[in-house]
Amino acid sequence: MTVLTVATNLVDAGLLAQLLLGALAVVVAVVAPARQRNLLAGALIVTAGIAAAVTGSAALLGEAGTGLQVPVALPLTAPLEPLVLAPDQLGGLFMALAGIVVALAALFGIGYANGPAASRTGWAAFAVFAVGMQLVPAAADAVTFLLAWELMAGGSTVLLLADHATREPVRRATIWYAVMTHLSFLFLLAGFGVLAAAAGGTSWATMAAASIAGPAATLAFVLLVAGFATKAGLVPVHVWLPRAHPEAPSHMSAAMSAAMVKMGIYGILLLTLRLLPGGPRWWSIVLVALGAGSALYGILQASVQADLKKLLAYSTTENIGLITTAIGVGLLLRSSGQFAVADVALVAALLLAVSHAAFKSVLFLGAGSVLHATGERDLDLLGGLAARMPWTSVTFGVGALGAAALPVTSGFVAEWALLQSLIHVDARADRLLAIVIPITMGIVALTVGLGLLTFVKAYGIGFLARPRTPAAAQAHEAGPAMRAAMVLGAVLVVGLGLVPGPLSQALARAVSAGGVSTTGGAGLLLGAVDVVLNPVALTLLTLAILVPLVVVNAVLARRHPRRDVDLAWGCGGERTSPRMEYNATSYSEPLVRVFRSSLQATQLVDVVHHDASPLLVEQMTYTQETGDVIEDRLYLPATRWAGRLGDLARTIQNGSIHRYVGFSFAALVLVLVLVAL
């Protein structure tokens, strides 16, 4: 297919446009003068994102591209098939998702990027990352997939390094990220290698047509799920998330968290729905276990974090866990023959993915705005931002509502669909389901509960109350580009929550699920399980109740206006200092007590007594630290072992020529014996 014929097909044209815009953005980032760089490069990336959104939507709605071939120097002999970009419906969905997030993040970046993130390298890396990410779901074969995947990984690694010169943890975070990303890549490479070997070709079509089964399928499944899980940030391979997200520039964190980890989800769906459909039952159990474990562990860690971006990072692990759970449940039900409910679970997974993309963008952008305004991301040092940053505050609040899955946001719709799929499982005839589904339900419910606490904390401590530091007190509102990005994101969060019907119908196409239809213009009717959700009607009902209340309140307020006081209720004395306020650490203290063992919490009270008497206390210091059990038990020993092996390996190269000759000699003798045998 030549360039000339591209223009006749929307998908092909869109793919080409993304490539060209990405390349142009790289060029502009390099040549544009520093003053205009943010605007020009950012605008180009926004356009590329929009192009991806349009292309992806077209693909999702069934417009098939003829395929854009990537030239490659290697001969196209077996098993290598042509490298082609041609998104299917599922791919289209994820491309659109990535594109929208990229557009939001780049728009935010126009106002936000400063210092190294606004450098030539910074914007060029962002463009590479963005286009690579958008093209991952467009790949129609393994090599193109890995190519886009690694462009995404490379670009993000470079951007992660942006602040290396000012913050020491950046380097360590980058190493963690790079290594875990490469782990993911190698898993995928090996997994696709197994599939390509079994199918005799690298394209999805060949692999799918080969109906691979048996040990090869199992091996491929394990390797690929491990690879995708690493990228998605599932426990126990989540460790890069809470390190990389906080250290990356915030627009990058948003893109990574809202879109990049979704590529892992896309991969799991691609694997289980297209490449290896109809695998054994334990595959889905594995996914449910991975997902539920990640959801619970992620939200538990998130709930006790005081670092806002770290909190959001762990919350990403939670959400990805929920998505994986939903996928696992869907597959489990398919293997049990309950196709109608399975479809609901799969649509729920996609709804969760889309909704997470929307609200997590807003939350990370909001966190970026806070960081921009105060230079702090530690909740213990923030507070009172609602009065100083009204736009950020409202949009972050909407995002937090979404994350807490409260109505009427996209998060609520998604979680509602997941719960509906769970309770409509017919487990009577199936003991496995009768055990798995209630446990899953319990874990999901606990996750929802803790999620609520987490985001009440994040919002309440960070934005309400009084400023805890001068930095927080001097916060200022974000600029227009940043505000626009946050508002657009917030609109998406609410909008998707208000009209779930059409959205779910579109999503259902991606997994060819039936039984999803629109009711009352915007409402969602799950015909398969006969339930309906109409957020617009719910909103109207709420308004019908709320408006009279507000009117009554206004009338009362006119009669008895508010009285300003210095102190509402000061415990009988004056309010001494902001340090008296509850902060993020104290907020989660009861929870830490409850889950002490799984959080590896250490609490230390240090009391300094007065000289005069041991009964008088001069100063008390309370320190609370929580650790990541998995990191301590799995990764630290692994790195220790690696170090030990490294020391051991050094004896190979100890400088003695006699040892070296010995190696050659041993090899010679062995080869002689080998050929003589």
């Binding site: 409260l406 929802v448 006081v565």
Partner: protein, 315 residues
């Protein structure tokens, strides 16, 4: 959306607002009598409410819209609960059926509004109350969903009205293990969600133990009035739900005026009796230490879990 179901919603709303002060009054009086006190009378809460709503609230420097909005949101969420839960009749709005997950999320909106209000003032007490409140809400969540899940399995739907109807149609299901376990778990949930003993003591102002009161400590006048009303309405709604699930008789199933009247009467009696029983029970219970509450909730979670498993494995 038929006129009948709109009427039912309106009736339930009015009924809830009317019955709630009485319910609180009954509960307080019961408790006072059992403790050998005279008490303020059944209508005392009503009088308190009127007084508070007519008083001016205060505002400290740096406070935000949350100060005004949270109390009203709490009331709205509680009223929405009253509208969605089948109290007097199982007729539901077609486009907003009383889906249990929607109901739970509406309940949570109220919970969050309260928690944010607690943090808004920036005082140590508010934060403390908010923190404890949310921890309990988080830990209650699994029990809530699982117990209703258990009840919904036999009915095959998550719409509360349909569940109540199904239970009424099959009275034998009321006393089977699934039902008993689930209802018991639900009672624990209601106690925790509404801040009753032994999870929280609604009448204490002792700094170390209070949860609900700590959050609303900074509010006064009209704000406090709304907050009290919202909390009370919540209790009414949840008691009504438990009552109708445990004893589904009397609830109206069509729009005929007579059945509606019967339904109104039945729910009023059920809620008041249940409230009195609850109050009476509270006399004999001491408040649990905060860090023993998770054990209580874990126990209720196990009950709910068993009831779900039972609902699959017994059938």
């Amino acid at each position: 959306m038929t006129i009948a179901s709109v009427a039912v919603v309106l009736i339930q709303l009015v009924l809830a607002v009317a019955v709630t002060p009485v319910l609180i009054g009954v509960m307080r009086t019961t408790r006072a009598r059992l403790e050998g006190r005279v008490g303020g009378g059944i209508m005392q809460p009503w009088r308190d409410l009127r007084k508070l709503l007519a008083k001016e609230p205060t505002r400290a420097p740096g406070s935000t819209l949350v100060l005004t909005a949270a109390p009203i949101l709490l009331v709205a969420s509680s009223l929405l609960l009253c509208a969605l839960i089948p109290l007097a009749s199982t007729l539901a709005l077609a486009s907003v059926p009383g889906d249990l997950f929607v109901v739970v999320s509406v309940l949570l909106v109220g919970t969050v509004a309260l928690a944010l209000l607690g943090l808004e003032s920036g005082s140590a007490f508010g934060g403390m109350g908010s923190s404890r409140h949310m921890v309990i809400a988080a830990l209650v969540e699994p029990t809530v969903l699982l117990s209703i899940y258990a009840l919904s399995v036999p009915a095959g739907t998550s719409a509360l009205a349909a569940i109540v109807q199904a239970r009424r149609a099959d009275p034998a299901s009321l006393l089977n293990p699934v039902s008993l376990l689930a209802i018991f778990a639900l009672v624990v949930v209601v106690i925790a969600e509404t801040g009753r003993l032994p999870v929280d003591n609604p009448s204490t102002h002792l700094e170390l133990t209070m949860i609900h009161e700590a959050m609303i400590l900074e509010s006064g006048g009209r704000d406090l009035g709304w907050l009290e009303l919202g909390s009370w309405l919540r209790l009414t709604a949840l008691l009504g739900l438990v009552a109708n699930l445990a004893l589904p008789w009397g609830i109206g199933q069509d729009a005929a005026p007579l059945t509606l009247l019967v339904g109104i009467g039945a729910i009023t009696v059920k809620v008041l009796v249940l409230g009195a029983v609850l109050a009476a029970a509270e006399v004999f219970i001491a408040k649990l230490r905060l860090f023993r509450v998770p054990e209580l909730l874990a126990g209720s979670f196990v009950l709910a879990f068993l009831s779900v498993s039972a609902s699959y494995l017994v059938f």
